[in-house]
């Protein structure tokens, strides 16, 4: 028993590549090197900018929901870069491996599709949508913060802890080869003896605990911290989707936590949950995983629906068509999502009537989703359209998502599903749902709320180039997979025997490169915008003639969001204020504001959790135990701390707010049609008909 558990020299990726040189190993070592250099580069950059103190006090220890939201999104962008490169690598391998083994070893290829899926779901999609909700929702309901700021930061850092484990697997040892769903018995100790599955277990466990806590936080915030007059039916639709998502997070993460715990007990302590023999039953795992997995799909998609609702109404200059039907549809989808999980394993062997029941339930979800699509279309009809990047992404979503929805209805039929189960048709379908239905929504959200967070717009030209590349890339990469899937091509294949598929594979490869180009141009857009931030500045804080409360405060908003908590009388609260000519008028009185103090406890908990997961993965028991005790020790010590907030005096609030109002009143009013030009001052023309 060594001090480092089962971790040895030859587990380090660089040593491994040195010992058995091959293209596959060289790529793995290159990825490990990129992770190390990336971390070092970030550290050097922060040092060069002299920003360690700002980073520590302003960000890493901050409990401000806006900072936490931005950090979530940064995490998502880092992780999407890795997972998208992995996707490109897989497509290149596949196109090169027709009647040929290609250049990636089977083990390496299997790790790639596992990390790609795990990262995209747990460390790209989840942090992205959590970040957007974190940033936007409290502002939209007129709250100063989330209900539990400390727990909010703990959720973030637990997720980061999981992401650290994912990155560590690039350097130490290797990752699971069992796919993102990690079905046993393949992932059990007898078939996957290495550390890969353990990395998966602990990374996913940290992320899922973080999501449960986030769900509680979002739900309680929406229930308890709405501004006076902000009834549930006065809330912007994005907040409704956030509420639905939080409910799903609260109730759907538990089955995943149980499933990963059971898999861990099987692997570490020889329990017999999913083994072959001794009464083990892997079907229980499939059932548990999708009890979580299906609501998870709606966790991913609903926030994007919320974003699209905001985009269509804002950039059409019209109130949302069918608000109540959209709310009802959102809530129906949330509840129905708990009734369809079996459609992920129609072929497991249960009776036909069970398949039929779940197939029908699945098709039912198409109804509320269809309602939404019509509502969005009708919102745009006869609107005063401003073709911003956000609206372009949203429009592409509308068309593309319907295609994905239709293939979903096809798959919901158990008879058809038997034919295309585990084929590329399925892969095409869920990418067709998640790329437009999640990623485009989150990118649109960044386009819309970036000016709120940083005070300047994003460059429209690069935004459009990016939208074009994402769109073209998506169609080129995934439409061929529908065809191949119908032709019998299975998913997760490293190489192919049938030369007829080569043209499709080539198209998919080019599509994958275009998607990578989409990400690159998106990052380019950030860079160009930062460089041109003077020309893009929107100091007024309302660049899009916004309809909801967040546009009525400064950009970036003060730590306390609103100098005076707004009184709300209707939907589209800020539009109403503007129409009444009451925007930017000074309040009569100010009050002291109590805000939480920064603390390093959440960061410590996240890092200790990562250490605990690393210790468990490598059987370094002392590390795991110490880290575990450290986590709970930190929680207990924190409970003995009583001075956890500080007061911002009313005079200080008044000074800041009055100065801002003074500045805004001096700005020229921007007509809607000039919203995408440098003339946009961030103060929208007032008094237009709503």
């Amino acid at each position: 028993m060594s001090l480092l558990g089962i971790l040895g020299w030859s587990d380090i990726i660089f040593v491994k590549a040195w010992q058995n040189p091959s293209i596959s190993e060289a790529i793995a070592a290159g990825a490990g090197g990129a992770a190390v250099l990336g971390a070092l580069g970030a550290a050097v950059l922060v040092t060069w900018l002299g920003a360690w103190r700002t980073l520590w006090t302003g960000w890493l220890t901050s409990l401000d929901h806006k900072k936490i939201g931005i950090m979530y999104i940064v995490l998502a962008l880092v992780m999407i870069a890795r997972a998208l490169i992995e996707a490109v690598l897989m497509r290149v391998q596949q196109a090169a491996a027709v009647g040929d083994p290609g250049f990636l070893s089977a083990d390496h290829y299997n790790q790639l599709f596992t990390t790609h899926g795990t990262i995209m779901i747990f460390f790209m999609a989840m942090p992205f949508l959590t970040g957007v909700i974190n940033y936007v929702m409290p502002l939209q309901i007129g709250s100063r913060d989330m209900s539990f700021p400390m727990m909010n930061a703990v959720s973030l850092w637990l997720t980061v802890g999981g992401a650290i484990l994912m990155m560590a697997s690039l350097i130490f040892g290797s990752f699971s080869t069992g796919g993102w769903s990690a079905y046993p018995p393949y992932t059990g100790a007898s078939f996957s003896p290495g550390v890969g599955v353990d990395y998966w277990i602990w990374a996913v466990t940290l992320a899922s605990v973080g999501s449960t806590l986030t769900g509680i936080n979002i739900a309680v915030t929406i229930y308890k911290r709405r501004a006076p007059g902000m009834t549930l039916f006065h809330m912007p639709l994005f907040c409704w989707t956030a509420l639905a998502v939080s409910i799903l997070m609260i109730f759907a993460m538990s089955p995943l936590t149980v499933a990963t715990a059971m898999l861990a007990l099987d692997r570490y302590a020889e329990f017999k949950f999913f083994t072959n023999g001794d009464g083990g039953n892997m079907m229980i795992y499939a059932n548990l995983f999708w009890l979580f997995g299906h609501p998870e799909v709606y966790i991913l998609i609903l926030p994007a629906f919320g974003v699209y609702s905001e985009v269509f109404t804002t950039f059409s200059g019209k109130t949302l068509y069918g608000y109540r039907s959209l709310v009802l549809a959102t809530m129906c989808i949330a509840v129905l999502s708990f009734t369809v999980w079996l459609h992920h394993f129609f072929t497991m062997g249960q009776s036909a009537e069970i398949n039929a029941a779940f197939g029908i339930a699945t098709m039912l979800i198409g109804i509320p989703t269809g309602v939404k699509v019509y509502d969005w279309l009708l919102t745009m009809v006869r609107g005063r359209i401003v073709a911003s990047t956000a609206l372009i992404f949203s429009s592409v979503f509308l068309v593309t998502f319907v295609v994905g929805g239709v293939t979903g209805i096809i798959l919901a039929n158990p008879d058809v599903d038997y034919q295309v189960h585990n084929s590329l048709f399925l892969v095409a379908h869920f990418h067709n749902m998640l790329i437009p239905g999640l990623l485009f929504g989150m990118i649109a959200a960044v386009q819309v709320w970036f000016p709120k967070a940083f005070g300047f717009r994003l460059d429209e030209r690069w935004g459009r180039i990016s939208a074009l590349l994402w769109t073209a890339g998506f169609y080129l990469a995934f439409m061929p997979l529908y065809a191949m899937g119908l032709g019998g091509a299975m998913r997760r294949m490293r190489s192919w025997a049938d030369p007829d598929w080569w043209p499709w594979l080539l198209a998919a490869e080019i599509g994958a490169f275009l998607l990578l180009g989409g990400l690159a141009t998106l990052l380019m857009q950030f860079w160009v915008s930062v460089r041109n931030r003077r020309a893009l500045a929107v100091p007024g804080g309302d660049p899009w003639d916004g309809r909801t409360l967040e546009w009525g405060t400064s950009s970036p908003p003060p730590e306390y969001n609103f100098a005076v908590v707004p009184q709300v009388d209707s939907r589209d609260a800020f539009t109403a204020v503007k129409a009444a000519g009451r925007a930017y008028s000074a309040p009569e009185t100010y009050e002291d504001i109590e805000m939480p103090k920064a603390t390093m406890v959440p960061l410590a908990i996240g890092l200790l959790a990562a250490a605990c997961g690393f210790g468990l993965t490598w059987h370094i028991w002392w590390l795991a135990l110490l880290a575990f005790i450290g986590i709970w020790g930190a929680v207990i010590l924190r409970s003995f701390q009583r001075e956890t907030s500080r007061v911002i005096p009313a005079a200080e609030v008044a000074r800041q707010h009055e100065a801002w109002l003074e500045m805004v009143r001096g700005l020229p009013q921007t007509p809607r049609r000039a919203g995408l030009t440098p003339a946009n001052s961030g103060r929208a023309e007032q008094g237009e008909p709503a």
Binding site: M283, N287, L288, F338, T339, L342, Q350
Partner: protein, 109 residues
């Protein structure tokens, strides 16, 4: 150091003490009854299982009512929404899982 401050509060305290006692006594009776079924063999087979299940559900209701003070008429609306929604989700998850897994088991035999 400060007990009830007025007659109204005296009444409230009495009510709360009584609730605790009622809960404890009912829970005790139901527990004993449930354990009595296998101990005495009074009921057998399906009837015994149904009896045990019924007593279990009753006792859970008793705990919710008297220890957790959940009251369908008097509780906070949010609490009720939350608990009832949880009951719905738990029913869907447990009921669905048992339906699926028992069926799979039958077909494997």
């Amino acid at each position: 150091m400060t007990g009830p401050r007025n007659e109204e509060e005296h009444e409230e305290l009495r009510r709360e003490r009584r609730a605790l006692t009622i809960g404890a006594v009912q829970a005790l009776i139901l527990t004993c009854a449930a354990f009595a079924i296998p101990a005495t063999g009074l009921l057998t087979g399906l009837a015994a299982l149904a009896g045990i299940a019924l007593l279990g559900v009753l006792q859970i209701a008793v705990h919710f009512r008297w220890f957790l003070h959940l009251d369908l008429r008097r509780s906070h609306r949010h609490d009720l929404q939350l608990v009832l929604f949880t009951v719905l989700i738990v029913t869907l998850m447990v009921g669905g899982s048992i339906w699926i897994l028992f069926d799979l088991h039958d077909r494997m035999m």
